[in-house]
Subunit: 331 residues, 2 copies
């Protein structure tokens, strides 16, 4: 199996390190596994014999691997590589899904499997991409797009076979959960908690995408389409952020045995907004943790909790990679 | 796929109902699926064309299906049935694993897959049974033996591929968790909480197996062997029950932000005993819920929560059944 990685940011760099560390395990699933290419905005690395994983793990930008890299786009790498799988890890763009959308479409059209951590293309075109993958007889896998390291899609697909999932709800954004947890435990305002989160690198300088609930709404769209079989778009999600959650409201909730959490609901209605959650409820997790709660017909109510972002997300990409069918001729 | 069910107690009867309700889904995995036999201590039903699922779902003992059932043992049903899979759902016996152990060995030796909800055989002979299954080229699946509906084994196997699990801990017994939760929230003694649990059918008349931590210790043995690759026996588990947990201790813990829980630890040490758990910790679940916490190298810390017993356990058996390879000739 020949893999290429498009996108060499935080997730991409950590993935390369994990591929290096876990090469023996990966080869026990895909004996001929090789990482043959990496691209970012500056160009791409390509070696059909496989890149040097030790060197690729030690760099922060691909020009540090080779003085002179191939000048050309990620699309050129995808076309040239003859890879069996594209790992797409460019940043999420919820306006038009680009550039990830083009990368994924190109790879699927060339008959490559795709594993992605990029929500944008799935929010914009979930059904079209899944149909394309099916037509081409390849897999499009996206475990890393929702709830970080929590393997929610494979949990439903591989561990709850025979179950019908009626409804999903949970905490799907680590940044806002960190802010609300600080407000809950330390009785501080939203503004102070946000500033602290920014200083610690948990919130971005422009925190809109997280605090307005846009990130969580993207995840609602993907869950709705992937698990409940809907054809939802981001505008179908009723959304409210956490900016207007006051210190006083958090304090009153706490006294009554609740926390205010940014809760995502995926059922008949699609919603993201601040909600009271009983402190004893399994989804009432704190800090940057995420939690996903499933209502099923056979297994009852199942909750899964884990890191919602960060390097642990690589676990989801690796599981997707190891779940792919072996490619023809065991190459 | 021809299936037989040995054991027609609470789990067996609920399983037959779920097979009836989910037949279309089951057939989407195993097109020729038929339940051809059911046995209990009184004898067995056998029809190679498949039993009438509607009738089998409406009875509480197998003599209600037919006035005259086949007189003979479960072993005779296993031998005569030529089934592809045995579903073993007789009660757990931790002393010698019988009669489940003989049923499972017989079926594996005949080249049948086995799906079991019975802890006994696995506690007594995990490694021997897994080796036998491997030698015979069949599967032995046991999702229902630990934590009820929580699919812990398939979670590790199918959703966390590439991860190394370092340690597991959690709440693995619903009866004791119910008792401790009542003590925590209602400030009552162990004796009163136990009596109430018995009245509600959550604790058995002889509660030893649960309150002494024996049930949880069995689950520790299975987790240790299945996930951490150990060859543990029940005597390797350091065990303490909850009888000596006082009302005063529970009250003090609560005031300090903790609950006393019967915690099972599966790591370098194997332990079951009452422990302080922070109220904010993801495993701090209440009532009859169970929770399993995994420490992994890639995904970080993952917790999964769900019903630890009851009819929801059928979900685990169904998932095991649907995870089996299709049998030769698609029969």
């Amino acid at each position: 199996m020949r893999a290429i990685l498009v996108g060499f940011g935080f997730i991409g760099r950590n993935l390369v390190k994990s591929i290096r560390d876990k090469l023996a395990v990966i080869k026990s699933f895909h004996p001929q596994f090789k990482l043959v290419g990496i691209s970012d905005v500056e160009g791409f690395l390509f070696d059909e014999e496989g890149l040097d994983l030790e060197r690729a793990s030690s760099i922060s930008k691909i020009t540090e691997y080779l003085e002179k890299i191939h000048e050309g786009s990620s699309i050129e790498l995808i076309e040239r590589s003859e890879a069996d799988v594209l790992i797409e890890a460019t940043p999420t763009n919820v306006v038009d899904g680009q550039p990830g959308l083009s990368h994924i479409e190109k790879a699927l059209n060339l008959g490559m499997h795709v594993v992605t951590s990029n929500k944008g293309p799935l929010v914009i075109a979930f059904k079209r991409l899944m149909d394309l993958a099916k037509r081409k007889g390849v897999e499009l896998k996206y475990e890393a797009t929702v709830a970080g390291a929590i393997p929610i899609f494979s949990l439903v697909r591989d561990c709850l076979r025979g179950n019908h999932v009626r409804k999903i709800y949970g905490i799907l954004n680590g940044t806002t959960n960190y802010i609300l947890s600080r407000m809950h435990f330390d009785d501080i305002s939203f503004e102070v908690a946000l500033r602290e989160a920014q200083e610690r690198g948990i919130a971005e300088r422009d925190p809109t995408y997280d605090v307005e609930g846009i990130d969580a709404a993207c995840k609602v769209v993907i869950l709705a389409n992937a698990i409940l079989g809907k054809d939802a778009k981001i505008n179908d999600v009723k959304r409210e952020g956490i900016k207007r959650v006051s210190r006083e409201a958090v304090r009153l909730a706490r006294k009554a045995g609740y926390a205010i959490k940014l809760v995502a609901v995926v059922g008949d209605r699609l919603e993201v907004g601040p909600r009271l959650v009983a402190l004893n409820h399994p989804i009432c997790v704190h800090g940057t943790l995420n939690a996903v709660h499933l209502e099923t017909d056979l297994a009852g109510e199942i909750t899964i909790v884990g890191p919602g972002a960060g390097e642990e997300t690589v676990s989801a990409i690796i599981n997707d990679l190891l779940s792919l069918p072996m490619s023809g001729g065991y190459r």
